[in-house]
């Protein structure tokens, strides 16, 4: 990582531009919203591509070398930085790039699709991006907690925005739950702060490693428990999955694309922080693996028995979050690489499926498999894209899902856990079955009654371009996984070296 003492210019921009855009867009009328929102989404995308690597510090100083009494960035030298810290490194680069790409398409689609309350909704989308950008860049407990709290409030807002009574109920349930676990994360933060006295996570870890905590380790276990609670609700892991999947299913599909990207980013960021802070405690990794296995299983089984295509995808997103957390929970180099790579791939192929789901809205707005629609005849492109998305999601080469799942399976085998490798395979296969049920009913099965409505539906060009871009990304990453892996591997090595 390139280090510089001066703060990096791009980090505040990635936080402030979405915030400012949200404030401005919230007050504007229809015609002015579109250019401002789209142009700032493009600016964010450009910043995320061209930004160099570096830090942003709110206070504190580089570590002081005790021998020479000079400031140093060398992580091997023992010294506290005492800072609230944001980092923009390779991991942040790839993650923020992907989510800002999704943000761009979401914003354009919502300017086309929404007629009412466009401004506040787009403001919420920008704030959602902001919270996910903060959570992946952060290296102190304070901003982590703020990002998780803001993120969950925005999720509530986006779920409620689609305006049906189901979405209001989903939003209220998720809101009540986020109130509990947000307070839990604050308690956890207070406990770690009380034990170590440092809010910077690297400093706290260094303190724990250097001095140990002896009898006070009980406090650290309770902090871990509350941390897991917030991890579960941010990512929708096992006991929270009915609420989280309800949020996914009740929002607009393009909103869900951004929501799932945010929750994957949260899972990766909080998971890595948990591994670094609590990794040396016994049973921590086992708890993380247990949670992920249950999530994988329950998610995919619940996806099988759904009758609405949106809910099938919603439960599959939950199920595939289990892959990500499994990789992080394994805690080995392969596991971490597989988990983070899976998060990137998951965001991409689920976005393909969700954009196809958005396209179904233009064919009458029904996504239930109870009625057959024969949409393949009306739009062969959407049918093909959905099937390609399903293939990518079930980990079939040459798509990207395959590459990360194979790394995860190898990591499990190396750890001596062949059962989990079998489970991963089964979940992939079942994903295909669950998706194919929906695809067959909606796209391929001829309608029982003769369809009167044969008029051509004009899909927005942006939607088609978006689907094509994400399919191309999926294939490119599937054939050349090194494009993404070269961002992930150095980060993983750094995490494990601490």
């Amino acid at each position: 990582m390139i280090e510089s003492i001066s703060n990096l210019w791009s980090i505040p921009l990635l936080v402030i531009i979405p915030m400012l855009t949200a404030i401005i867009v919230n007050f504007l009328y229809d015609k002015a919203i579109k250019p401002i929102a789209i142009s700032s989404a493009i600016i964010i995308l450009i910043i995320s591509i061209i930004s160099p690597y570096g830090y942003h510090w709110f206070c504190g100083h580089p570590a002081l070398n005790p021998e020479t009494l000079t400031f140093t960035f060398n992580p091997n030298i023992f010294g506290y930085k005492l800072s609230l810290e944001f980092i923009f490194g390779p991991l942040q680069h790839i993650m923020i790039f992907i989510s800002s790409l999704i943000l761009l398409f979401c914003v354009i689609l919502s300017t086309i699709g929404l007629t009412k309350h466009q401004g506040p909704y787009i403001a919420l989308l920008f704030l959602l991006f902001m919270s996910s950008a903060i959570v992946i860049m952060v290296n102190d407990l304070y901003h982590l907690w703020i990002a998780v709290e803001i993120g969950s409030l925005i999720v509530v807002g986006i779920a409620a925005a689609s305006g049906t009574s189901i979405s209001h109920k989903a939003a209220l349930k998720y809101g009540l739950f986020s109130a509990i676990s947000g307070a839990g994360l604050a308690v956890s933060l207070a406990l770690v702060l009380g034990l170590t006295g440092f809010s910077n996570i690297s400093d706290a870890i260094m303190y724990l490693k250097q001095f140990g905590i002896g009898e006070m380790s009980t406090v650290l276990y309770i902090a871990f428990g509350f941390f897991v609670l917030s991890w579960m609700y941010a990512g929708g892991l096992a006991p929270i999955h009915p609420l989280k999947s309800e949020v996914y299913g009740a929002s607009y599909p393009h909103g869900t694309a951004l929501l799932q990207a945010q929750s994957k980013l949260m899972l990766v960021a909080i998971g890595i922080i948990m591994l670094r802070l609590f990794g040396m405690l016994p049973f921590v990794k086992e708890v993380m693996i247990f949670l992920s296995v249950i999530t994988m299983m329950i998610g995919v089984i619940m996806a099988l028995i759904q009758i609405d295509f949106r809910w099938i995808i919603a439960y599959l997103i939950i199920s595939h979050s289990g892959f990500v957390t499994l990789g992080i929970g394994l805690g080995t180099q392969e596991g971490l690489i597989g988990g983070i790579f899976q998060a990137v791939n998951d965001i991409i192929y689920m976005t393909i499926l969700l954009l196809c789901c958005e396209a179904l809205f233009y064919f009458g707005g029904k996504t239930s498999t109870k009625e057959a629609y024969d949409i393949a005849k009306k739009s062969p492109f959407i049918a093909t894209a959905t099937i390609l998305g399903a293939i990518a999601a079930s980990g079939i080469p040459p798509f990207n899902g395959f590459q990360s799942e194979i790394i995860l399976i190898q990591a499990c085998l190396k750890e001596g856990l062949p059962e989990i490798a079998v489970l991963i395979l089964m979940v992939s296969v079942t994903t295909f079955i669950a998706l194919l049920r929906g695809i067959y009913r909606i796209f391929l099965k001829p309608p029982e009654l003769q369809d009167q409505d044969n008029s051509n539906v004009d899909l927005p060009k942006v939607l088609i371009i978006g689907i094509i871009i994400f399919i191309i990304l999926s294939i490119i990453i599937g054939i050349y996984p090194d494009i993404v892996l070269r961002f992930i591997i150095p980060v993983v090595k750094e995490v494990l070296s601490i």
Partner: protein
């Protein structure tokens, strides 16, 4: 009455349990696939106990398989437990939280 018939009748009864509404639906196929998947999943999970002791894993495997087949179809119960009822989710969350804290405290 031959044994084949009774077995057939048993199987038919078992399958009838899944059917909601007018027999032929894609919901039924989903339920049956889900039931089989769940069975396989819990069998694999019971194998997991080999990490603690192999005999325990074998006993658990037999018991779990027998129970799952006896109480079939379990998928309806699984669905009910995974309902989006707020109180149910909170109940499960409390149980999870208690287990996680207990395991980590016990391990430490």
């Amino acid at each position: 009455m031959t044994s084949t018939e009774t077995f057939y009748e048993k199987l038919k009864k078992w399958l009838d349990n899944f059917i909601t509404g007018s027999g032929y639906t894609n919901i039924t196929t989903g339920y049956i696939t889900g039931e089989l998947q769940f069975l396989v999943f819990i069998i694999i999970l019971s194998v997991f106990f080999r990490l603690f002791s192999v005999p325990l894993a074998i006993i658990l495997l037999i018991f779990i398989t027998a129970f799952a087949l006896y109480f079939a179809p379990v998928i309806k119960d699984v669905e009910k437990e995974n309902m989006n009822d707020l109180n149910r989710v909170l109940y499960w969350m409390v149980i999870y939280f208690a287990i996680i804290i207990a395991i980590t405290l016990w391990g430490g």
